[in-house]
């Protein structure tokens, strides 16, 4: 603590020095500077976070209790309160709106589980296989990171082209070249769209898993491998007994981040499917988006968003609780 106080007490006579004019913009009264400087430094960040994240979040919760339809967009604070009305509509699963929300939620869950699992699997496999030095490793690393580096919308547009019915690469390979399908399939409408979305999402996100696992592997002490090699462990045993267990802590964060990103994903289905997503690829973010902006019913949209946030918070809290307990028990 002493050092902190020292650094905030500037040497005497500094403010009358020749440098004063140049610092004029940042001239702050002495009294404020002593304790207030860190807060002043944080002020811009706090201000922007407040405007773009915190206030809208609070507003969103307020809005979810209002009947905020097209009529009230210009004067939304004057919209009438509806209590839990929006929530009742959202969770009444036998009515069309609630039913559609539930379907979208279930599709999103299935999609998220598969996508996160595959991303993790591909990323971990590639990172472990590339742990040793070999020729071309650096080039391969750059190649594998390319999907992640490309602007999302550009690469999703390319995938949309590849999935075209008449002139796409996928039908050309599956139908014309391999003869797997009897006739060319539609990939961007109907049930197939689920798999198209899954492929694009995994293609885009597995490099992130790869990157994280690669970073995690750098912390595995080399001595462990050497000792086990002397004890006669083969490479597969080493992967199973040394590499995998030491990745546990990075996996905890990685899986959570992948889960949240995939579950919240908007851009991929929005760019891939265009105006209206098919039911099999109707992820929850897109669903809420169209429910809000097509009908201009912001109250219902906000209620759905709040429900989504509640779900994500519950899952995150549960996940952290369970994984932390398991880690403690193992330790």
């Amino acid at each position: 603590m002493t050092t902190t106080v020292d650094r905030q007490a500037p040497p005497a006579g500094r403010d009358s020095g020749p440098g004063r004019g140049r610092r004029g913009l940042f001239h702050i009264p002495e009294r404020v500077r002593r304790g207030g400087l860190p807060y002043l430094l944080l002020l811009p960040a706090l201000f922007f976070e407040l405007i773009v994240h915190v206030i809208p979040m609070v507003l969103g919760v307020v809005m979810s209790f209002k009947e905020l339809t097209q009529l009230y967009i210009r004067h939304w604070w004057g919209a009438p309160w509806t209590g839990a009305g929006n929530y009742r509509v959202a969770v009444r699963f036998d009515a069309p709106i609630g039913r559609a929300l539930l379907d979208s939620f279930l599709v999103t869950c299935a999609f998220t589980v598969l996508a996160v699992g595959l991303c993790w699997l591909l990323g971990t496999t590639a990172a472990i296989l590339m742990q040793d030095r070999f020729r071309g490793r650096g080039v391969l690393r750059a190649v594998f990171l390319t999907p992640y580096a490309l602007p999302l919308y550009a690469s999703v547009i390319v995938w949309a082209f590849m999935f075209q019915h008449d002139n796409g690469l996928v039908n050309h390979v599956l139908h014309d070249q391999l003869g797997v399908t009897g006739k060319p399939s539609f990939w961007l409408i109907g049930d197939n769209s689920f798999f198209s979305l899954l492929v694009v999402s995994v293609w885009r996100n597995w490099p992130f898993a790869f990157l994280c696992v690669m970073a995690g592997l750098q912390n595995v002490p080399r001595e462990l491998y050497e000792a086990s090699a002397i004890d006669g462990a083969g490479i597969w045993q080493q992967i199973r007994l040394i590499t995998m267990p030491s990745l546990r802590s990075i996996n905890q964060v990685l899986v959570l981040v992948l889960f949240l990103w995939t579950f919240n994903d908007f851009a991929t289905p929005y760019v891939l499917f265009g105006r209206s997503a098919p039911a099999a690829g109707d992820l929850i973010s897109v669903h809420i988006y169209s429910a809000s902006f097509v009908t201009w019913n912001f109250g219902a949209g906000s209620a759905m968003s709040v429900l989504m946030l509640l779900f994500l918070s519950l899952v995150t809290a549960g996940y952290l609780l369970v994984t932390n307990r398991t880690r403690r028990n193992r330790a």
Partner: protein, 285 residues
């Protein structure tokens, strides 16, 4: 990276590695190949069945796309928005990271946790209220945030802020305190110590953060789709709108996709090693 064992890996491992890495390479590069090869085909070659090897090569798509859609305007919008958001975000993050790294104060933990957790919220949750907030501010004060580049800049700068602050705190922490303390003793104010000593010493980190912020703003879709109008549309929204029309000149779209990808891919390849280093530091903590 530590090597696993001093002895050469067995053939079973080497073959698994070859096969798996080959498949992953094909998977990763397939869209890149399609993008590149299709962008060089004349229109009639992309409307018929797909061909692996282009029969006729042309650079016309790269010329025509600027007239088919107002790509130039989208480009200007994206560059202005992404650059301004990046510049502001980096400056704001430098100040905040300096406070967190060098000072003790009440509420520091709350600040870092809050800022980091905003990263996890679904964008859709604050999209609607932010939209109404911008419209409201516009009605009340006449400052046009909705539909303007300014509103988009304001939004995007906060998107990269959490990661930027987190990464810069790590960088600043790794700079010996003695350096800036010496500057303070020499009569520098805290801000001059920051810009004369700490910022130059952590330039790689700042570059990495800037590239990250630029990529975030360059690729954003959700907020751009709501917050822009015809004149302020960014590349993301303009290209998407064109690519989902019924009659699309796919060769031109592929050319445009390639052009918009070059700046960020180049940036990312520069960033890559800092990113791995930053993640490693974070994982150790």
């Amino acid at each position: 990276m530590p090597e696993r064992s001093p002895t050469a890996p067995p053939p079973s491992f080497v073959w698994t590695r070859r096969i798996v890495l080959t498949l992953l390479t094909v998977f990763s590069l397939l869209p890149v190949y399609v993008m590149l090869s299709s962008s060089l085909k004349p229109l009639r070659d992309v409307t018929g069945a797909f061909r692996w090897i282009p029969e006729h090569l042309t650079v016309r798509p790269y010329v025509d796309i600027w007239r088919t859609i107002p790509l130039g305007r989208y480009f200007v919008n994206s560059i202005v928005v992404a650059s301004a958001a990046t510049g502001l975000s980096v400056v704001v993050a430098i100040f905040a990271a300096y406070a967190v790294s060098r000072y003790r104060f009440r509420g520091k933990r709350v600040f870092t946790i809050t800022v980091l957790s905003t990263q996890m919220f679904p964008g859709i949750l604050f999209l609607l209220p932010l939209f109404l907030l911008y419209v409201g501010i516009g009605n009340a004060t006449g400052i046009a945030l909705y539909g303007s580049r300014g509103g988009l800049i304001l939004t995007y700068l906060t998107f990269s802020l959490p990661f930027s602050i987190w990464m810069l705190v790590g960088y600043f922490d790794s700079i010996p305190r003695g350096l800036d303390e010496a500057a303070l003793v020499d009569g520098c104010g805290p801000l001059r110590a920051l810009f004369r000593v700490i910022v130059p010493a952590s330039l790689p980190g700042i570059v990495a953060v800037a590239i990250y912020a630029f990529m975030t703003a360059w690729s954003e879709v959700l907020f751009a789709s709501v917050m822009t109008n015809d004149t302020t549309r960014t590349l993301a929204i303009g290209l998407r709108a064109y690519a989902t029309e019924t009659d699309v000149y796919w060769n031109q779209v592929m050319a445009a996709s390639l052009v918009v990808s070059v700046p960020v891919v180049a940036g990312f390849l520069l960033l890559q090693r800092y990113l791995v280093a930053g993640l490693t530091a974070g994982a150790v903590k």
